[in-house]
Amino acid sequence: MAARRAKLVAQGIAIGLVALLFVLLVWALATDEGNDLAKRANAGELPEAPDFTLGRLEENEGELTLSSLRGKPVVVNMLASWCLPCREEAPILEQVWQRHRDRGLVVLGVATKDFRRDARRFATEQGITFPLVLDGPGDVWGPYGLTGLPETFVLDRQGKVVEAIVGAVNTDEDRARLNAAIRRASRS
């Protein structure tokens, strides 16, 4: 009798563990929003941009927190020196920064999974003057659902993502899309 009860308890525990793992799997899949950030933004859902605090590329310039830029439209550009398409779009983003900075737009480059020295050289070679932060370990990849570089997110004044461009902004169509998103972000 006692043995049968022990066996039943053991079987119950095993079935319970399997059920728990299944529930956790379903829950993880159901709440995995990070990878859908670009999709949700482009579907017009206006998801909130995941916040981050990262060190500036120049170590003596301290840190920058994304949410501290609330009240301004922000273009967040994820890049790396080893990413060839990032080289193509860097001058375009610099132009955007130069053209709109007086109207309050911030272009923020996030050099990710990159050596600090390489990212600095990249910025110098590309003539980048917009602010750059460094995310060596790639902590932004998960929350922003990055699968590669570059990716560009346009945030409105409330920190909501109004547009996400996966891949380089290097065609006239991409530029038009970016400018339209900046106009939408600035109006909000």
Binding site: A2, A3, K113, D114, F115, G136, P137, G138
Partner: protein, 150 residues
């Protein structure tokens, strides 16, 4: 003579040891122990641009005379502890080594206890399945059998 021989042997071991310690790290060894942060495989398995850049960095540091630990530390400083294929065996990283062992030990204890309980239960069940017959019942069975045989 034997004391001199022992001293000579010890000296030769010491020289061999210090020579081994001074050997520069091998790029291939380090590439097998460092993870590409984009593709999440070790560098020797990856041709991703960042992995190629990291391989070049490792060769530069070896040429500059850095030790294996110095190269690993500098990569951890750039890319975080996730860049190491094997977690460090000290500090917080020690947990990654100890927890699986602790899990195995706990699992073994649980399995041992359950097996013991089951086997003990089975012996009791087997014993309980053959209780001694009531003498009155035994007599009646014998009577019935005798009548049946006659």
């Amino acid at each position: 003579v034997s004391a001199r021989l022992v001293a000579l042997l010890l000296a030769s071991f010491a020289v061999a040891g210090s020579a081994a310690a001074a050997d520069p790290p091998r790029a291939a060894d380090l590439e097998a122990e460092i993870v590409c942060p984009v593709c999440e495989t070790t560098l020797d398995q990856s041709t991703a641009p960042v992995a190629e850049r990291m391989k070049l960095y490792i060769r530069e540091r070896i040429a500059a005379g850095d030790s294996e630990a110095e190269i690993k530390d500098s990569l951890v400083a750039e890319f975080g502890p996730g860049v190491l294929a094997r977690p460090p065996d000290d500090g917080f990283g020690l947990l990654a080594w100890l927890l699986p062992l602790a899990g195995l030990a706990v699992g073994a204890v649980v399995v041992g206890v359950l097996v013991r309980r089951w086997s003990r239960g089975r012996v009791t069940e087997e014993g309980a399945s053959e209780p001694p017959l009531d003498p009155e019942l035994e007599r009646r069975v014998d009577d019935e059998l005798a009548r049946f045989e006659s």
